[in-house]
Symmetry: C2
Subunit: 411 residues, 2 copies
């Protein structure tokens, strides 16, 4: 089938999949929801049509295998996630799964020197249980069993959700790909950033997935009456927090190595217009391609926060929620990907990934490669998220060359 | 009765009244609630025992009259409010009503050259309908009838609430005290601030109730992915708002004329740890004894806000919710009050009131005077609110002299 037709098919599948949602006004497919089941059903049909042998594993991952020419051969995985954020775009996740199915449809069973497994991961975004990579961490054998007792907003535990979906939590380890059987992982994903668009290039090759630190800051002052407490004796937690938030931005702007730092959520207590805030909690999201720079930044910020709060008679706590070192993509796979991009006729643009991806979890098994696809205005996690069908075609072209090269080298 | 005994009686009444609440765990008496009815019943009993002729008017105000020696005489009002905030203290409001009843009990019917009316206002805090002075504005004839259609959190309109309480909204104008009959108003209230405690003085005389401006600020930027949007191209509404909030404090600290400025409530959208905030709304509460200084401050702040937002590619709006000019207390009544404080043996400490009081609404009728009573650590609107029984005694001593002097001067 000509590449244009394949790109149009992927685009149409993207549109159909976007109609599967928990919400009638926008796209939302969270872990083990009814929408997730319907999405697995729909995509499973496409996998079947592409010649894949499909199953849903115990962690709600949709998996399809195209057997290779060697029954003792290893397995190469291509995939991405089928879950979404709330009020999501259509491409973040699904595009990578559909491009993998498109490859499987092109390749024939028994044609490859390895098994090709296509996976639609059940949870990368972490919306329902505030913990991401649920699907891929089971496949990679690094899932933390304690998470099964986490509860969603309605009080449903992860174990209950998994069981209702048809999974058996006692058999999660059987869904791991054994390390000695694992050959590698390739993921295609929208860039979620502006670089490819600025450079006018349809695809890019990711070198590193940034290290990340998520922190919750709690600032404590003394509440008081907004009308009767003189300025000079206030211990206003928000006035202090405002300076701290301003410093986060300033310090990140001084780093010229792609450090990003974001305060996305702020809660002010008691939160009345006529009461001086006694407590402020805010989140901090720090990312850098370089984990050591991130750690240095984090320490520097703690010093600044201590200075601001001490001077004002406030106290604060720094609660580390999560830390991920940076994930380097595999040299050899990335080299094959770069050659494929070049051979397909595009400039080879190296990128770092600011967002985390299933490749982070899968890197626990072995080598991973990640390709980014240009998206309009860099917008993601929003209904305006858009990838031109031409760029889907470009990605298909690169994938074709990538698998042909991979197959040659593995023989 | 000795002053100590009278102070102990007021203290005991304060404790009894605090047991009348809408909530079993804390004090809460909002406008026209069942608790408000029970409180009116309880206080009405005390009024009756003090020789007052009582009634509940059409706006749920509890009113008791001690007739003077002249049937054509004017009316002098002493009172405060019986409603409370949520999780309130025991003294804010009730203390002023109970001190007024204590005066009535001391004075005999026909002994004064004017009628003394004691009022327990039904709503000063504005908790239920987010509009304050509901009770006192009816008495003062400045109640805005359109407010009757306001709805509470459960969808009950003010008119419905008033009618359920037994009021007739078509007769509110009959509950106004005619201006030509009004002689003056005296209110005793806790300070809700730290000055009297710092100076170690039990009572103070208020010169002015501060002017106030309440504003809602909306800052608009562009949301984005926290991991993939470089620092330099962000339009982070929160990073801008943080600088604006910091400036509010700095500018107020530069004013050495008792200006206070508070940001008490902040809402960040979308409010997720991994999304750059696209919108931030925050409240602004500005107060000053001097309305012109307040206006200048407000204009200066708008200039600063414009500078910050323009520089960052953000926009903002300044939505004025409410503005009150300052309310000067009456020279003559305040003079009498100062002499009474001095004669009772205390230093005369002049204060401004940062909080609004029923006296603000009543000043529409004519002269008002306001006395503050020391409260522990300046804490108010909190269960820890506390006034020593000794200080209640001091206030009683001052009230005794105040009414004796007033009565002499009016003869």
């Amino acid at each position: 089938m000509p590449i244009d037709n394949r790109a149009a098919r992927v685009r149409d599948q993207i549109e159909m999949l976007a109609s599967v949602s928990e919400h009638h006004q926008y796209v939302q497919r969270t872990f083990c929801s009814l929408a997730a089941k319907l999405a697995n059903d729909m995509v499973s049909g496409w996998m079947h049509a592409a010649g894949l042998k499909t199953r849903v594993d115990n962690m709600a991952n949709l998996r399809g295998v195209l057997p290779g020419n060697n029954p003792q051969g290893r397995v190469f995985v291509m995939g991405s996630h089928l879950d979404t954020v709330i009020d999501a775009g259509k491409y973040d996740g699904p595009l990578g799964v559909l491009l993998a199915i498109d490859q499987a449809a092109r390749l024939e069973a028994g044609s490859l020197p390895f098994d090709l497994e296509v996976i639609g991961f059940s949870d990368e975004e972490g919306v329902r249980y505030h913990s991401s990579y649920l699907g891929s961490s089971v496949v990679a054998g690094c899932f933390d069993q304690e998470q099964l007792s986490l509860k969603d907003a309605k009080g449903v535990s992860m174990q209950q959700a998994v069981e209702k979906f048809g999974g058996d939590v006692t058999k999660l380890s059987k869904d791991q790909i054994p390390k000695d059987k694992f050959l590698g992982y390739f993921e295609a994903h929208i860039e979620q950033g502006p670089v490819l668009e600025e450079k006018n290039i349809p695809v890019g090759v990711v070198q590193t997935i940034n290290s990340q630190e998520r922190v919750e800051i709690k600032v404590q002052g003394v509440p008081g009456h907004a009308g009767t407490t003189p300025m000079m004796i206030r211990k206003d937690a928000l006035a202090g927090a405002a300076l701290m938030i301003a410093e986060v931005e300033q310090l990140a702007q001084k780093d010229h190595e792609n450090m990003v730092a974001t305060v996305g959520k702020v809660d002010v207590f008691p939160g009345a217009s006529n009461v001086i805030p006694g407590n402020v909690n805010f989140t901090l999201d720090l990312r850098s391609p370089n984990y050591e720079r991130l750690s240095t930044f984090s320490k520097k910020l703690q010093q600044i926060f201590s200075g601001i709060t001490q001077k004002r008679g406030l106290t604060y706590s720094w609660n580390l929620i999560k830390t991920n070192k940076s994930t380097p993509c595999d040299d050899q796979l990335t080299q094959i990907l770069s050659e494929a991009i070049s051979q397909a006729g595009y400039p080879v643009q190296a990128l770092t990934s600011g967002a985390g991806h299933d490749a982070v979890a899968i890197s626990n098994l072995g080598p991973v490669a990640l390709m980014f696809i240009r998206c309009k205005n860099g917008i993601s996690h929003h209904p305006d998220e858009f990838v031109a069908t031409e760029d889907i075609g470009a990605a298909i072209k690169v994938c074709d060359v990538f698998f042909d090269k991979l197959s040659q080298q593995m023989q």
